[in-house]
C-alpha cells in the first residue's frame, strides 16, 4: 500500500489560510503549535524583552540564553514572532490591528488582565464579529477559583491523575506523570474547540468565545478514575504500572532479561492467543514451570475468554491470571525487544517501556518518518524533533520553521 504519497509533500497544511494571533503563554503554547504545524499562520506576540518561558530549561549546550531554551524551541515551532507591549497604548493599538486580521485569538492571560487593558474579546468583537477568541486559563475565566496560584503539578494533584498513579507500595507518594501534561491536555481541547468554532462560523458568520479550563480538562481525562466512581461509586487504588482498581490486580509490568521493563498487556484471551501462549511456553520449555497451565487449556475449551468476564466470572478470571503468569515466565527469559517482537508476531499485545528519545531512533518510527529534522540556520545546526501526530495524505503536517527569535518577524508582520 502506498501509504504516504510523495505527491502531497509540497502541499500546504490543512489550516493554510487560517490566521491565529497568539499571546505567548505557558498554558496555550502547545495549542498554538498544534495549529501552526497544521499550516495555520500563527503570529506569536511577546512582550518587550521576551516572554518569561524563554527562561525555561533545558538549554542548548546547557547555556542559559533567551534564544536557547529548548522549552521554547519545542512549543513555538512553525510560528512567527513579534514584540508588542500591551502595557503601552501604541502596543495595544498594534495588537488591535493584528487581531483584526485574525480568525482566532489564542491567549492564556490571567483572567481579567486583558479586560483591564481594554483589549479583551468584549472590546474587539463589536468591530470583528467573526473573531474566535480562545482563553486557556487554570480554572476557567469566571471560575470561583480563577485567581488561585497553580502549576502543572498542583493541577494534576487536584484534578485526579496523581491519585490514580504511583506504586503498589503506598508508603511511596503518588506520582505525577512527566511532561507538563496539564498544558498538553488543555491545549488539545483548546485547538479542537477553536476549530469547532471556525467550522460553525461558516454557517453563522459569527465568532464566539471559547473558555478552556485546564482543571476541568485534566478532571475529564482520567478514564476509569471518573466513570468507575460516577457509575458505581467505586474508590480506586493506585498500582504499579497498571490501572488503578478497587480490588488489587496482578502486576502487568515486568523486568525483561536485559533489565528493561515491559507491559504484558491484558485481555489476551482469544483461542488463537491462548494457543500462541501455550506454544510459546512449549518452545521455551517453560510449561512445567507454570503450575496452573491447565487454566490455559480450560480457556481453550471455553472457546476463549472475554474482557467483560474479568472479575465477573471466576473461571475466566483464572484463565486471565494464567495468561499473565505464562507471559511473566517468558519475559524473564528474553530481552525486552525480543519479547515484544516475539509476542507481537504471535498476535499478543504487549509493549516495551521506551523512553521518548528511544522512540525517535526505533526502526518502526524511523521508517514511518516520525522523527523530523529542522534546520536552525542561525546556529548552523539541524535538530531532530518529534514529528506528526497523524499523517494527512493531502495536507501534510510539517514544522515550517524553528521557533522565532525575539522580534524575528516584527518587520514583515507589524508593517503588513
Amino acid at each position: 500500500m502506498a501509504a504516504h504519497p510523495v505527491a502531497s509533500a509540497g502541499r500546504p497544511g490543512p489550516l493554510a489560510g487560517i490566521r491565529v494571533v497568539e499571546l505567548a503563554s505557558e498554558h496555550a503554547a502547545f495549542a498554538g503549535k498544534l495549529l501552526a504545524d497544521l499550516g495555520a499562520d500563527v503570529v506569536l506576540v511577546e512582550p518587550p524583552g521576551g516572554h518569561h518561558t524563554r527562561g525555561y530549561a533545558p538549554f542548548v549546550d546547557d547555556v542559559v540564553d533567551a534564544e536557547g531554551s529548548l522549552w521554547w524551541w519545542h512549543y513555538q515551532t512553525s510560528k512567527r514572532g513579534v514584540v508588542v507591549d500591551l502595557d503601552a497604548a501604541d502596543g495595544r493599538a498594534a495588537f488591535r490591528h493584528l487581531a483584526a486580521t485574525a480568525d482566532i485569538v489564542l491567549e492564556g492571560e490571567p483572567p481579567g488582565r486583558l479586560a483591564a487593558l481594554g483589549v479583551d474579546h468584549e472590546d474587539l468583537r463589536g468591530v470583528h464579529p467573526g473573531l474566535v477568541w480562545v482563553s486557556v486559563t487554570p480554572f476557567g475565566r469566571t471560575s470561583p477559583r480563577r485567581d488561585e496560584p497553580m502549576t502543572d503539578l498542583t493541577l494534576l494533584a487536584g484534578a485526579g491523575p496523581v491519585n490514580l498513579s504511583g506504586y503498589d507500595d503506598h508508603s511511596l507518594p503518588p506520582v505525577r506523570g512527566g511532561g507538563n501534561q496539564g498544558w498538553h491536555t488543555a491545549s488539545l481541547w483548546a485547538a479542537n474547540a477553536a476549530l469547532v468554532a471556525v467550522l460553525e462560523r461558516e454557517t453563522s458568520g459569527l465568532g464566539q468565545h471559547v473558555d478552556v479550563s485546564m482543571h476541568a480538562a485534566v478532571n475529564v481525562t482520567t478514564e476509569v478514575g471518573s466513570y468507575e466512581y460516577l457509575v458505581a461509586g467505586a474508590v480506586l487504588q493506585r498500582q504499579t504500572g497498571r490501572h488503578a482498581n478497587d480490588e488489587p490486580t496482578t502486576p502487568s509490568q515486568h523486568q525483561a532479561a536485559d533489565g528493561k521493563y515491559v507491559h504484558i498487556g491484558f485481555t489476551q484471551g482469544t483461542p488463537a492467543q491462548l494457543h500462541a501462549i501455550t506454544d510459546w511456553l512449549d518452545e521455551l520449555g517453560l510449561r512445567e514451570r507454570l503450575a496452573e497451565a491447565f487454566w490455559l487449556d480450560i480457556g481453550l475449551e471455553r472457546g476463549g475468554v472475554h474482557f467483560s468476564e474479568l472479575g465477573q466470572d471466576v473461571e475466566a478470571t483464572a484463565v486471565f491470571g494464567a495468561v499473565r503468569d505464562a507471559l511473566e515466565l517468558v519475559v524473564a527469559r528474553l530481552p525486552a525487544r525480543e519479547f515484544f517482537l516475539g509476542a507481537a508476531d504471535r498476535g499478543l499485545s504487549v509493549g516495551v517501556v521506551m523512553a521518548a528519545d528511544e522512540v525517535l531512533v526505533d526502526p518502526h518510527f524511523v521508517e514511518r518518518g516520525f522523527p523530523v529534522t529542522v534546520e536552525h540556520p542561525g546556529l548552523g545546526r539541524s535538530v531532530t524533533y518529534p514529528g506528526a501526530p497523524f499523517r494527512m495524505h493531502a495536507t501534510p503536517w510539517r514544522i515550517a520553521r524553528p521557533a522565532p527569535r525575539l522580534g524575528e518577524h516584527d518587520a514583515e508582520v507589524l508593517l503588513d
Binding site: 485526579g160 506520582v175 512527566g178 511532561g179 501534561q181 476541568a216 466513570y227
Partner: protein
Amino acid sequence: MTDRALPPKSRALAGLRVCDFTGVLAGAGATRMLAAFGAQVIRVEDPVRQGRWDILRGARPFKDERRGVDFGGSFNHHNVEKLGITLNLRTERGRELLRDLVAISDVVTENFAAGVMARLGFSYEELARIRPDVIYVSNCGFGHTGPYSPYKTWGPVVQAMCGLTFAAGLRDQPPAGWGYAYMDHHGANFMALAVLAALVHRSRTGEGQWVDMACTEAGATLCGPDVLDATVNGRPLRRPGSPDSNRSRSPAMAPHGIYPAAGDDRWVAIACRDDRDWAALADLVGEPWTRDARYGSLEGRLADEDALDGHVGRWTSGRDAFAGAEAVRAAGVPAAAVARSEDRIDRDVATRDWGLFPTVVHSAMGEVRVDGLPVHLSRTDWVVARGAPCLGEHNDLVYGELLGLDADARAALHADGVI
C-alpha cells in the same frame, strides 16, 4: 426510564454526519466530542458479535445488578449523544447498505487494527469512489505502515511504547506509568483534531483525504522538551536519577513535590515557582530550616533538594491535606491536596460551577452521570444529555429515515441477519 425532556442538540457541528466504526476510548472519544457539538454520529456495530468487538460493550462498571451489552457503564460513557445501528458486513447486502451510508456521510472513522477496513472492502480508495470528498480517519497503535503496523495495541501498551509510561515515576523506582488509559483520551483528542482539520481543508477546497493516525506517534509528541535535551544535548532520558517526575526541571522549581499529609494515604502537592514563592512558604512555615541562606536561591534549593523535601514533608505530615494546601495557597504559593474521585467530582467548587459532570439518559440504564467537556463556547456550547445507544437502537431511524427503507424491508433485513 425517565421522561425528562432532553435539551436540543448543540448547533456547533449541525449538519455534519459521521459514519463511525470507532470503539473503546481511543477512537470512541473522538466521535463523542463531535457528537457533543451536534454532529450526527452513527455508530456501526456487528449484530453477530453483539457489538463486542468493542470490549467495553457490556463491561464494568455497572449501575445496578443488570448485565448485558446494553448495561456497560464505560461504553455508555464513551458513546453519549451518538446513534447506534447494527450492520453485518459479512453479507453482500450489508456491504451495499454501508455504501449507501458512506454516500451520505462526511466523515468515516475507525480504530480497528491496521488493514481491517480494507479487508472489509472499504479501503480509502473504495470509500472515495463512493464519496469523492470523504474524510477517512483511521487510528491504530502503530499506523498503517512500518514494521509494527500489523501489531495490535491497547492504551497501556501505547503508553509504554511512546515514552509516557517511562516519564512517570520516582527516582530509583520502576516506571509508575499512568494509572489509567491516559493516552486513550489523547488518542481521541488527536483523532478529533485530525477530523476537524480535514473538515476545515475540505470546506475551503472541496477535497477530502485519508488521515493515518498512529496512537504511539501522537503520544510521542506529548513528552515535552526533554526529547530535545536528548537530540540536541545528547542527554538520554534513560540515565541514573531519571526520571523523577514529581520534581520539575522544565521549568526548574524547588521545592516541588508530593508530600505526606495527616491521615491514611493522604498527600499534598506544593510547588514554589520562584524565589518569591519560596519566601512566602518560608514565612508561613516559620521553622529554623527555612532560614538556611542557601535556600534563598533556586540553585541553592536544587542543590539540596533531598534535604529540602525532607523538611517540607515533615512540616506537611502532621497537617490535613486540604487545610494545609489552603494555607499554602493563601500565602500565594501553588498547592493542592491529592484529590480522590469524590473530592474532585463532588466537592470541588470549580467543578460544580463548570457543570463538568452532566447526567445523561440511557434507554436501558436510565440516568447516569458522565464526563462533560472542559470548554465552554459562548454561542454554540456542547450538549451531553443522551446516553449511548443500545445495540441497534437507531436502526429504524437510520435505515428508515436516512436510507429510505420501509418497515417491511427493515424487518426482512433483520430476519436475514443483515442488521
